[in-house]
Amino acid sequence: MTPTRKRRLTGVLVIIIGVGIAAVVAMQALNENMLFFISPTDVEEQDLPAGKRFRLGGLVANGSVSRASDSLAVAFVVTDGAKSVDVRFDGILPDLFREGQGIIAIGELTPNGHFEASEVLAKHDENYMPPEVADALEKAGHVESET
């Protein structure tokens, strides 16, 4: 094998190994860092472990928002029409946060059953609802309350 060929081969090999490593690291990072979207119904039906981060989406249930009087702590309920989840959040809510509004909260379930959010998102357009939330609402169906 000529020196040029050998050098070319080494070069190609180095490149393949380098890119291969990058790809493996990427897939790892992808799998560790992707956040699943889960609706309140799913939360109740699937027994989710506490401590795993995910995105919870649904509507803010009416009359459920309450703020602490001396800090930024706030509690509210997220519902998809069928089931609901209690959410606690310590921070500033987005401008469009309102009862009846579709939102996504990122965080994890705590051992005592409520969802501790580290981030709450609502898009800057009141007509919009994240497609995942819309999907979940539809899937949950609606239990009409006969009076």
């Binding site: 990072a29 992707m34 699943f36 979207f37 500033i92 497609p131 995942e132």
Partner: protein
């Protein structure tokens, strides 16, 4: 006023674009010089027609013609004049017309400033650009017409989205599109080269200034978007790895690789296939980005209103343009790398590292952006991929790039010695290590990664500047060649960017608080005092305006007035942050929400952001470097007469 004229003008532009796409191209295969010459006229007429159309839409906004649905949806009688102009491109239809306008301007520029190119090649470049324009014009006319009427006419408009009533909207999209769309020129040059079977590398030299200008615009366009998000959104963030942001970042990554690859191919003939492929990919990614943000395929906080039918059109267009060009590449790209080989230690090698790193970065961003779609398509759930993934990959990939940069600058072409390079880089290395260590000692909180980032940035800066010194000493003069100055500026910009990024990532402080009038909060060495809010009236909004006094020790540094605005027409609420900008730090305050009935207590966000301006300052340096490089007189030198190049098709001697 008849806005329908705008539509007619676009239709005429479409016909002209068809002529531009067909006639000159036919001319290149039949040797008909008159046909080939049609390209200039067609390009100029098309530009004029699109300008007329755009002008008509703009005037509809300026005079507030609410009988036009697009105007009614995005404007309002209270909207200040300067926003009426920018409202034109604030939503899907208008922004597409802006795209087309910018494309038409680029095409006309190529027609006007490339008279020295061989006429066959030039005709083909313009024809390819004509086809691209045909696609966009069809898209606008068939699916996204901004000239539709609202009957009965609206008495009042719905107002421009308050988030967009801002200086940022006035400049960000046009500059960004200048970049995005500008890569179509490099694309057209590459396709023309493939069609002609160009084995010589002259076509690369011709395409360089066009590519550099597009790249420079894209750089500043992205930087502006980041700066705008920073002050407009009120959360102190400047980059979110949002699909829309990624859609603009991918062409930039490939574009950066392209401008470097072009240099190698022009000078040494190597990387011929890389350059071709990168040129095709840059514009392809621009188109892909357009598709992703307008089709509803990806969820994003700033995607346009999604419409799958539009998505189908763009996807078909994408398939034709990109698929066609990649097929051409597969068939026609030269089988061997032209030009000489190169040793393991050579400039070519370091630039190859550059090409690879940027290509892999682009691939990683693409994967992360599309991964949720893939998982959804497989029915495996709905996920999102966030900053942790992108941030991690990006950081790791920067390592080889930063290490290679100064070494590559000093390297000789074709063959060099590692020991020689090590000798010359000794001082930059020592200085950057000292700098990095010094920063780390002063601010131990930044941690290893950030300190490494600072050291890397310093390494890039010192390496680049020392090279200039070395060059001047060798030439025994004080005159820096423009091309070297341009390169140095751009690389220093990268270094400044890296230092700013590393420092602000770990040193920035953020606090969300509940504050009542009179409350104080201490952050780093500043004290923020909240003095309460009062109501103020804007042209089309009412706001609660807070007053904050900021002290450093006993001295008052500044007063900030963040607002919480209520826009009457749409009922939107908007946060207007207040920033005290500085070379070494930004102080940033924004109002959250009132926490009690009488508005005396508010949720407040307070930030201290050291060196954040360095991120955009670095981008400005890169812009200047790119523009300076494009202005190089070398590109405007008269070209020697060329010998005919043999190919599979009939070729006309240039």
């Amino acid at each position: 006023m008849t806005v329908e004229l705008g539509q007619i003008s676009l239709l005429a532009a479409l016909l002209t674009a068809l002529v531009l796409g067909l006639v000159p191209m036919i001319g290149t295969y039949t040797g008909n010089r008159r046909f080939m010459a049609v390209s200039t006229t067609a390009a100029l007429i098309q530009c004029l027609l699109v300008m007329i159309s755009f002008g008509i839409l703009t005037s509809a906004f300026v005079i507030q013609d609410f009988s036009v649905e697009y105007v009614a949806r995005n404007s309002n009688s209270l909207l200040p004049m300067h926003y009426r102009f920018s409202a034109v491109w604030s939503a899907h239809e208008g922004s597409l017309l802006l795209w087309e306008l910018i494309l038409a301007v680029w095409i006309a520029s190529v027609a006007l400033f490339s008279k020295r190119l061989p006429e066959v090649f030039r005709a083909r470049v313009l024809a390819v650009l004509g086809w691209i324009s045909v696609g966009f014009l069809l898209f606008i006319l068939l699916t996204s017409n901004p000239f539709g009427r609202l009957i009965p006419s609206a008495a009042e408009g719905l107002d421009l989205n308050p988030l967009l009533q801002d200086f940022g909207l006035i400049i960000h999209p046009p500059l960004l599109y200048m970049g995005y769309v500008g890569f179509s020129v490099a694309f057209a040059f590459a396709v023309a080269a493939l069609l002609g079977g160009e084995v010589s590398r002259d076509w690369v030299r011709w395409s360089r200034p066009w590519t550099l200008v597009a790249w420079a615009f894209l750089t500043i366009g992205i930087a502006l978007g980041s700066w705008w998000a920073y002050y407009e959104l009120g959360w102190g963030g400047y980059w979110f790895w949002d699909p829309v942001e990624n859609a603009s970042f991918m062409p930039w990554l490939v574009g950066t690789a392209l401008i470097h690859s072009q240099a190698v191919t022009e000078k040494r003939g190597a990387f011929g296939n890389w350059t071709l492929l990168l040129a095709l990919s840059a514009f392809s990614l621009s188109l892909l980005g357009t598709f992703l943000v307008r089709s509803g395929v990806l969820t994003s906080v700033h995607a346009f209103a999604s419409d799958p039918t539009r998505g189908i059109f763009i996807l078909a267009y994408l398939a034709v343009v990109v698929g066609g060009s990649l097929t051409l590449y597969a068939i026609r790209a030269p089988k061997m790398i032209q030009g000489g080989g190169f040793a393991g230690t050579s400039r070519e090698t370091f630039l190859l590292v550059n090409n690879l790193v940027f290509a892999v970065m682009a691939a990683m961003v693409l994967t992360g952006t599309l991964y949720p779609l893939l998982i959804d398509a497989m029915g495996a759930g709905k996920i999102s991929v966030g900053p942790p993934y992108f941030g991690l990959l990006f950081t790791w990939l920067l390592v080889p790039l930063v290490l290679a940069l100064p070494v590559g600058i000093y390297s000789r072409w074709q063959k060099d010695e590692g020991s020689r390079l090590a000798g010359m880089l000794r001082w930059p290395l020592v200085m950057s290590l000292v700098f990095g260590a010094g920063v780390w000692i002063m601010e131990p909180d930044i941690g290893f990664v950030s300190a490494a980032g600072v050291t890397g940035g310093a390494w890039v800066i010192f390496g680049s500047m020392f090279y200039v010194g070395h060059l001047l000493k060798r030439k025994n003069s004080f005159k820096i060649p423009a091309s070297v100055l341009a390169m140095t500026l751009a690389h220093v910009g990268l270094g400044v960017f890296l230092i700013g990024l590393s420092l602000v990532s770990t040193l920035s402080t953020e606090k969300h608080l509940r504050m009542e009038a009179g409350d104080k909060y201490q952050m780093v060495d500043y004290t923020f005092q909240f003095l309460g809010t009062k109501v103020v009236q804007g042209p089309n909004y009412t706001a609660d305006e807070g007053e904050f006094v900021i002290y450093k020790g006993e001295r008052e540094v500044t007063r900030l007035y963040p607002q919480k605005r209520e826009y009457a027409q749409r009922g939107n609420t908007m946060t207007e942050a207040a920033i005290d900008p500085g070379f070494t730090r930004d102080l940033y305050v924004s109002l959250g929400e009132p926490l009690d009935q009488n508005g005396r207590a508010w949720a407040v966000r307070v930030y201290h952001k050291p060196f954040i301006r360095w991120i955009w300052l670095g981008s400005i340096f890169m812009l200047c470097g790119g523009m300076l490089a494009a202005a190089n007189k070398r590109y405007r030198r008269k070209l020697p007469v060329k010998k005919p190049v043999k190919t599979g098709s009939k070729e006309v001697t240039a």
